[in-house]
């Protein structure tokens, strides 16, 4: 849950950059003849709105309306009592509260000439909300858009990269603390959580599993809207082989290989090892919170400034799962490992 530190700090992300992010969206809207775009996020998937406004959707759901010209507006069923906090911690100045999604959108569009209303990442919107809004504004043409914001935020700015490296440093300390915390997976998770939260992480999604002598911890952690994904299995004798496979895959990626081919390079590196039946998965940082399960597998080649994770997992003879997951930043000619 999002219960960690929430900060809006102009020394971290300059104000102009926030304006540029909204501006880039609006440019695309105009190119696609969309008059207003609606972005729906929930507490488990709030990164589009976070990226555009710094607002943290810590409650159930929220919607951001972006017109092709003008400022963005938050539409929410949450009480106005916390609007002051939202204004302090985000770039949003127009916040509107109401009882129903349809009524909120209808009121928002009331003074606009009917046009084309775009639903960003439409496939992931609750269908009933789409239908409720369509019914509330029958004069508007509904347009189902793809992952417009996700595509835009895939490549990190230099400011975001700096924040991600800061977060990676904290997470490295957290992993060290988890390693030192003893055999018990709960102790490891507690140690990791402590360092990460004290270090300013907003969200730490932890899953731990203990099977015999093996303990596995997998964490997706959010630092200022930038995510890191890490998986570690303790008591795994094959860890060196997993690291070798990871390095081979990242090396291939840096040499210009596609995601698919780089994955095959990683698997090839495991052939001489005791690891059998390994699975290798690339996950975009834009989807770390749900481990990429809402998207199709990555295709093509990465671009500079993109962040992804490589997850390598296998089942041993006893059927116990072991995993090694690391996050990296794609750069010119090399991949910078952010977790190790």
């Amino acid at each position: 849950m999002k219960r960690g530190l929430v900060v809006l700090d102009p020394t971290e992300i300059p104000e102009e950059e926030w304006g540029q992010r909204i501006g880039a969206v609006q440019e695309r809207l105009r190119a696609e003849r969309i008059d207003v775009a609606l972005i729906y996020n929930d507490v488990s998937r709030g990164d589009d709105i976070g990226y555009l406004t710094n607002l943290v959707i810590y409650w159930n759901e929220g919607m951001l309306a972006i017109p092709a010209e003008g400022e963005a507006t938050l539409l929410t069923k949450l009480s106005k009592r916390v609007f002051a906090w939202m204004e302090r911690t985000s770039m949003i100045t127009d916040l509107r509260s109401g009882q129903s999604i349809g009524a909120l959108v209808s009121a928002y569009l009331a003074n606009r000439q009917a046009g084309r209303l775009g639903f960003v990442d439409a496939d992931l919107w609750p269908a009933l909300y789409v239908e409720e809004i369509a019914s509330a504004v029958p004069d508007w043409e509904i347009v189902e858009l793809g992952a417009v914001i996700r595509e835009q935020r895939k490549v990190l700015s230099s400011a975001e990269q700096a924040l991600l490296r800061t977060g990676a440093g904290v997470l490295a300390e957290a992993l060290e603390a988890a390693t030192a915390a003893g055999e018990d997976v709960r102790s490891r998770m507690g140690a990791l959580e402590s360092v990460a939260r004290h270090g300013g992480f907003a969200d730490v999604v932890l899953r731990g599993l203990e099977t015999g002598e093996r303990a596995t911890i997998e964490v997706a952690a959010e630092y200022r809207h930038n995510w890191l994904l890490v998986g570690r299995s303790y008591g795994v004798h094959e860890d060196a082989a997993l690291i070798e496979a990871r390095n081979a895959a990242l090396s291939a990626l840096a040499s210009g290989a596609t995601w698919t081919d780089a994955g095959l390079s990683g698997l090839a590196a495991l052939e001489a090892s005791p690891v059998t039946n390994a699975a290798l998965t690339w996950i975009s940082q834009t989807d770390f919170a749900n481990r990429g399960e809402l998207r199709a597998p990555l295709e093509g080649r990465p671009v500079d400034g993109e962040v992804a994770a490589l997850q390598i997992e296998f089942l041993d003879d006893a059927g116990c799962r072991a995993v090694r997951t690391d996050t990296f930043l794609v750069g010119a000619g090399h991949s910078e490992l952010l977790t190790n």
Binding site: G4, V43, R81, R186, G190, E193, R291, L294
Partner: protein, 360 residues
């Protein structure tokens, strides 16, 4: 389950990441998939579907659902085929209102009629069995420990987010799977709680928190406000109002009571003291709510005539703003027994001070 009464051939429980209570209820498994489902028909064995491979073993290991199939968001055919092949005409979907557009189209193509089964499943979960209550009592011990940590680490100079770091670490060590927690610190300018900031706690502050660890699937909430330094006269007066309101809600709590009646009992305390306006949605959200496998179930508010039966679990918290000391939170989770209600947590129901802390 009352499928016949609802005219349903089957129920499909859908769990997005933030609403997994129905899948947990039917499988007893802690799943991690972005999309999970359980299909429950009138006659066949239940079938689970998940986007995460590790969930397969996790669900099977609990023993309630043995047929577990992998799906992807873009290819839910195993799920769609199962619905089609079962000859389901009228399908009830738990959390239909959250089912993504693409999946909704698939599901609507698989059954002649698709309706919401959210209320049906909410009703099924409302009455807790003895086995569930045993788990909730165990979860309550984690909530008690969480509050204890909160008191121990609170001191002038500590930031809001550092307090939460300490609490999170301790409850994870105790086995909590997750936690929902809000906080607010300061004086009578505070209108509500939010995630933590960098604000440093000061002597004279009232620090409010809503702590909700999830242990073995069950959320267990506790609300307290604590003075930093000696308890001020305003903090004491404010506490007296909230304590009396919570006690009034507790006194009204017995099997067959409605959520409305409990809310009225709490709000009447404010009204008698001339603070009735602070019971409106301008100042507060609810006077409590159901808590179980989801942390925010049926609301305890005036106008909600949901009947609460024996075995229902909910928190009574008259949290709101008043001019006495600003936003104040106080409340505990209860279970309705045959004759009344029983608190699930053991934390003392009194005003606390940071001077009691011992971890420094």
């Amino acid at each position: 389950m009352a499928l016949d009464a609802q005219g349903l051939d089957a129920v499909l429980a859908f769990a997005p990441i933030w609403r997994r209570e129905n899948v947990r209820y039917l499988t007893d498994a802690s799943v991690g998939g972005a999309l999970t489902f359980v299909l429950l028909t009138q006659t066949a064995e239940p079938v689970a579907f998940t986007t995460r491979s590790e969930d397969v073993a996790a669900i099977r290991s609990r023993g309630w659902v043995n047929d577990v199939r992998l799906i992807t968001a873009s290819d839910p055919h195993p799920l769609v085929d199962a619905v089609k092949n079962s000859g389901i005409q009228r399908l009830g979907v738990g959390h239909l209102e959250l089912l993504p557009l693409a999946l909704t189209r698939w599901v609507r193509g698989a059954a002649a009629e698709v309706v919401s089964a959210t209320k049906l499943l909410d009703g099924a979960r409302m009455v807790k069995s003895a086995w569930e209550l045993e788990r909730m009592r165990k979860a309550a011990r984690v909530s008690d420990a969480a509050w204890q940590t909160f008191v121990e680490v609170l001191e002038p100079g500590i930031t809001e987010y550092d307090i939460i770091a300490e609490v999170e670490a301790d409850i994870k060590r105790l086995g909590a799977e997750d936690n929902f927690m809000l906080i607010a610190s300061g004086g009578d300018e505070v209108l509500g709680m939010t995630p933590p900031t960098r604000r440093r706690i000061q002597v004279g502050d009232l620090v409010r928190t809503e702590l909700t660890p999830q242990t073995d699937g069950y959320w267990l909430q506790i609300c307290r406000s604590i003075s930093v330094g000696p308890v001020t006269e305003a903090h004491r007066r404010s506490f007296d109002v909230f304590y009396e309101a919570a006690e009034a809600g507790f006194a009204a709590a017995k099997p067959g009571v409605t959520a409305h009646e409990i809310a009225v009992a709490e709000n009447d305390v404010f009204r008698r003291r001339g603070l009735g306006e602070y019971c409106s949605d301008q100042w507060t959200r609810v006077r409590g709510h159901g808590v179980g496998l989801h942390l925010d179930e049926t609301p305890i508010i005036e106008g909600n005539h949901t009947v609460l039966p024996e075995g229902a679990t909910f928190i009574i918290h008259p949290n709101t703003y008043t001019p006495i000391a600003g936003y104040h939170v106080f409340g505990d989770q209860v279970v309705l027994t045959a004759t009344g209600a029983e608190y699930l947590v053991s934390t003392e129901r009194r005003m606390f001070s940071s001077d009691e802390g011992s971890r420094r």
